[in-house]
Symmetry: C2
Subunit: 273 residues, 2 copies
């Protein structure tokens, strides 16, 4: 069995391109690792789909990643982490599975002073109450204020990252969190770090923003380290990109998310897995 | 072969729920017809997907509708009409196929006086230039101004139908059409009639708005009539609803789009077709 080898890749997946913000952070702190990224661009977004659909999609992607002998699976998609983490773990068996939610929650719970945590995410993530239950399991008596922000993803994908419109919408969405007096807000969607500046302006300097991409990357490093699975080579790792729809759009948008243009992207018939 | 029978249903499909605005209009002018509606809610939206993905999805749905002995296929989705109409026709063989685009274009060309037509739609519809080429085929020397409006669909689905934000976004999107002096604007997406009031406010009273749902329904009536396929019964027709994701969300949103709550919706594994 090849899984377990230090040279085996880390597998990351997301419903689309948002997970590239997680990949970027992972490359920053683990530059020698080989990594496979899968973006489910044919069925994006997951945030508006049913639990069963997201579980089904996640199982297919997990099987695809296992075929590529990944040594760890990072579920960069908040919706999949919320709705399908147990399904993924069942299929992955001994391969460790890390979801963005738990990492974000751990950081939020350790940062809050007044015990009031805000969570923003897609409708499906919020509706699943997965962040809420993860906080309750970890944090004891904490007041939780949840707010779905379904327009943030299309605004980022429209490229309106510094727009007055985005600020106006952020004011509407974030008002309940400010009013409730949260001192920590979790950015519960991989797209949201792209508009962190506007979110920061709207909520003010006193509220700590938790970027799950950073937190989950730290956790991945810790797990690989504990299991003796860190790749020791000094060379930079290989990156491989797979998507379920045409690669061209991925290549273009990767510049916005990852900060560099990726041309070598392969299409996978993911429904067959 | 059963297709051809007057009692056979009309098949309509859309990427999701937007097509219900077309269905509503069809029921209004053809109340006795039996109708099957398919909404591809597991893979919605089509507007951001590749041409190949949309063609593949459309072929699967066409096969599904043919299995149900439809006597006509109405492609309510603008993106599928733009990218996949020929694929659908090939599979449908003798069954007539009607797409929203041609009907909308015919009305626009007959309404314009100053020969300046504006088109608004999803990114994929605009990028396909299908409206543009349909106008050119039909209308001779006409100036065409195209404008993608990718945020309109999520705004409608967020329910911000009377919102100041939607008006502000509409002002940004529609400014080039006003500036160019169009006297006709085609609403090139089934969601857009839901915010027709705001679009009307922004463009002013002098610009004629073409609602493709109305135009395509008139065309369906004409085709069925010419072929002697109108259902003659005086009773109201049966409606059947199928989706590719969980039916519950469809049922809830049908109230917004169709004006009534639909509870009898069946899930189909559309990928198998």
């Amino acid at each position: 069995m090849k899984s377990g080898s230090n040279n085996n890749p880390i597998g990351i997946f997301d419903s689309g391109l948002g997970g590239l913000t997680v990949l970027k952070e992972l490359i920053r702190i683990l530059p020698s690792e080989n990594i496979i990224y899968f973006g489910d661009t044919a069925r994006v977004p997951y945030g508006t789909k049913s639990k069963n659909a997201v579980r089904n999609f996640s199982r297919q992607i997990t099987k695809f990643l296992i075929r590529h002998d990944v040594k760890l699976i990072l579920v960069a998609c908040n919706t999949a982490s919320a709705l399908a983490l147990n399904d993924i773990k069942k299929i992955a068996k001994k391969i460790p599975v890390v979801g963005v939610i738990k990492s974000g929650v751990r950081a939020a719970v350790s940062e809050t002073v007044n015990k009031k945590i805000g969570i923003i995410g897609t409708s499906a993530t919020i509706k699943s109450e997965s962040y809420k239950s993860a906080i309750k399991r970890l944090g004891g008596k904490i007041k939780i204020i949840q707010q779905p922000c379904p327009l943030f993803v299309p605004l980022v994908e429209e490229g309106w990252i510094d727009s007055k419109i985005t600020e106006d919408i952020a004011k509407i969405y974030l008002y309940p969190l400010k009013k409730a007096g949260c001192d920590v807000v979790i950015l519960g969607c991989t797209h949201y770090p792209m508009i962190k500046k506007i979110i920061r302006q709207v909520v003010g300097k006193k509220i700590k923003l938790i970027d799950s991409a950073k937190e989950v990357s730290k956790d991945v490093k810790k797990i690989l380290s504990n299991k003796g699975l860190i790749r020791m080579a000094k060379s930079r790792g290989n990156l491989k990109f797979y998507v379920s729809d045409a690669p061209d759009k991925f290549s273009k948008l990767s510049k916005i998310f990852l900060g560099k243009f990726i041309s070598d992207v392969k299409k996978v018939d993911i429904e067959r897995y």
